[in-house]
């Protein structure tokens, strides 16, 4: 007797011809970029009170997509400073002198997680930067006219927003938002773009969020999505690999 089992044919889904593990090729072969390490490249001075480095010498076009501008001066976050140091583009100087802070000390600073960026945030930063993406801290403008850098007095360090918020009201609002949610929006991510302008960056392609040890709850996703217009991408970092997941509310169409 003929048994028409169309279930069997659907298991040929497995041969869909979709790439099985697209990431493997990239990670095993080319994870270490071949770069020339330049000495005498850009220089920035680390300012502990701000948790930022003030750029003193700029070399190269990379500054069009790195660092924030306040009153004509450029500052970079710990992740930007560390990344540029790693690839030999930047030397970080200490307090008053010309002594370059070694990479080891920068890693320690990052590990302390007191400058608004945690280690897994940094893994994602480094990974996406290496692929050419443009990253800025969520909630911080690339450039603000006539604004001096100040750390708001008496405010606790805001782990996600960074310390250099000019508007005390903004900090209070952001801290208030953060309290209801375990997940954090950390980076605004833009697609690689050689015509990127800090004065008009446009909307980010997505906002990189971190929910820590566990996947984000449905409620946390809602809280963040209400606050952020751009698509959200949740990052999971494990064993030096970063994975990105989007959780989207949909309405499955009613079929005819």
């Amino acid at each position: 007797m003929e048994e028409k089992d169309w279930e069997v044919s659907s298991s040929s889904d497995n041969e869909a011809g979709f790439p099985n593990d697209d990431d493997e090729e990239f990670h095993s072969g080319g994870s270490v970029p071949k770069l020339q390490f330049r000495v005498g490249s850009s220089k920035a001075r680390w300012i502990a009170e701000l948790g930022l480095a003030e750029v003193e010498v700029k070399r190269g076009k990379l500054w069009t997509t790195t660092g924030i501008i306040r009153s004509g001066k450029t500052y970079c976050f710990i992740e930007e400073a560390l990344y540029l140091s790693e690839i030999g583009e930047l030397q970080i100087l200490g307090n008053e002198d010309e002594i370059v802070i070694p990479l080891k000390d920068l890693y320690e600073k990052m590990a302390e997680e007191k400058s608004g960026c945690s280690w897994d945030n940094y893994e994602v930063y480094r990974y996406l930067k290496g692929l050419g993406y443009i990253l800025g801290r969520n909630g911080i403008s690339w450039t603000l006219k006539d604004a001096a850098i100040t750390r708001p007095n008496g405010e606790e360090e805001s782990a996600c927003a960074g310390e250099c918020l000019e508007d005390k009201g903004t900090v209070t609002k952001l801290l208030g938002d953060m309290q209801i949610c375990d997940a954090k929006a950390v980076f605004d991510v833009y697609l690689p773009n050689s015509r990127f302008k800090k004065s008009s960056p446009g909307e980010p392609s997505f906002v990189a969020c971190f929910s820590g040890d566990s996947p984000p709850s449905k409620e946390d996703i809602k809280v963040l999505q209400k606050r952020i217009a751009a698509p959200l991408m949740f990052c999971h970092v494990a064993q030096g690999r970063a994975s990105f997941f989007s959780f989207s509310s949909i309405d499955l169409p009613v079929l005819p």
């Binding site: 279930e7 593990d21 697609l191 990105f244």
Partner: protein, 237 residues
């Protein structure tokens, strides 16, 4: 992801015979002759005429049981499928231990006694079927259901469905669960769809199929993004 039709002309055939129409045909076909099934601890066994078996197959309800009988066909229905045909489409009768269950409450309670999560599972099943998607077991992909836009002979399933009761937190608890489900469904070209069933966990309430009206369903897809493939250099356009 766009629907993947299995052969040239499949999409046209699907458009010509919408699922809703086939389901209506099923309803009238089964109602003509009183079709009866009997409940066991894990399924409902239905006895039908060959023509009815054919319509059931076209709407993808049940699995045929191979038998030597020429004039009757035996179809094995899952609880969800059987309850849907009984309660929603009202086109079959079901008996338990020789007695016909007229009352949906009795059937509901029996099924719940055999399968713990039946209420939630059924809510998800009927939610999808009500949107005219074809719903089948997703066990071979590690999920609860897979849904097809039309008959599986015409199209590949697009979504792999996991059902999560809002009060329970038993699926996708840790990151490796997410990786596992997303990568597995991705490797067979499906999108992971999570159905969150919201409702009152009051046990008394759940004793009646009416509790279904109090449940709402939220749909969420989980997709993995690959930064290497996601780049577009705008300046090259």
């Amino acid at each position: 992801m766009a629907p993947r039709w299995k052969w040239k002309g499949a999409e046209a055939k699907a458009l010509a015979e919408p699922v809703s129409k086939t389901v209506s045909e099923l309803q009238s076909s089964l109602a003509q002759i009183e079709v009866s099934g009997f409940l066991s601890s894990c399924n409902v066994l239905l006895s039908v005429e060959p023509e009815q078996a054919e319509v059931l197959d076209r709407c993808c309800f049940g699995r045929p049981v191979v038998s030597a009988e020429k004039d009757k066909r035996w179809i094995q229905l899952s609880f969800e499928e059987a309850f849907f045909l009984f309660y929603k489409l009202k086109c079959i009768k079901i008996s338990l231990r020789g007695r016909s269950l007229e009352n949906e409450v009795a059937l509901w309670r029996s099924m719940r006694s055999f399968k713990t999560n039946f209420a939630i599972s059924y809510k998800a099943y009927s939610h999808l079927r009500s949107k005219n998607w074809i719903v089948r077991s997703g066990l071979q992909y590690g999920v609860d259901f897979v849904v097809y836009r039309h008959h599986p002979s015409l199209v590949h399933s697009e979504y792999a469905v996991l059902v999560q009761f809002i009060c329970g937190n038993d699926r996708l608890k840790v990151w490796s669960d997410i990786h596992c489900s997303v990568r597995l469904t991705g490797s067979v070209a499906k999108t992971l769809l999570v159905l969150y069933i919201n409702g009152n966990v009051n046990t008394e309430n759940m004793n009646l199929p009416l509790c279904l009206e109090d449940y709402t369903v939220e749909e969420q897809t989980i997709r993995r993004w690959s930064p290497e493939l996601g780049r577009e250099d705008e300046t090259r356009t």
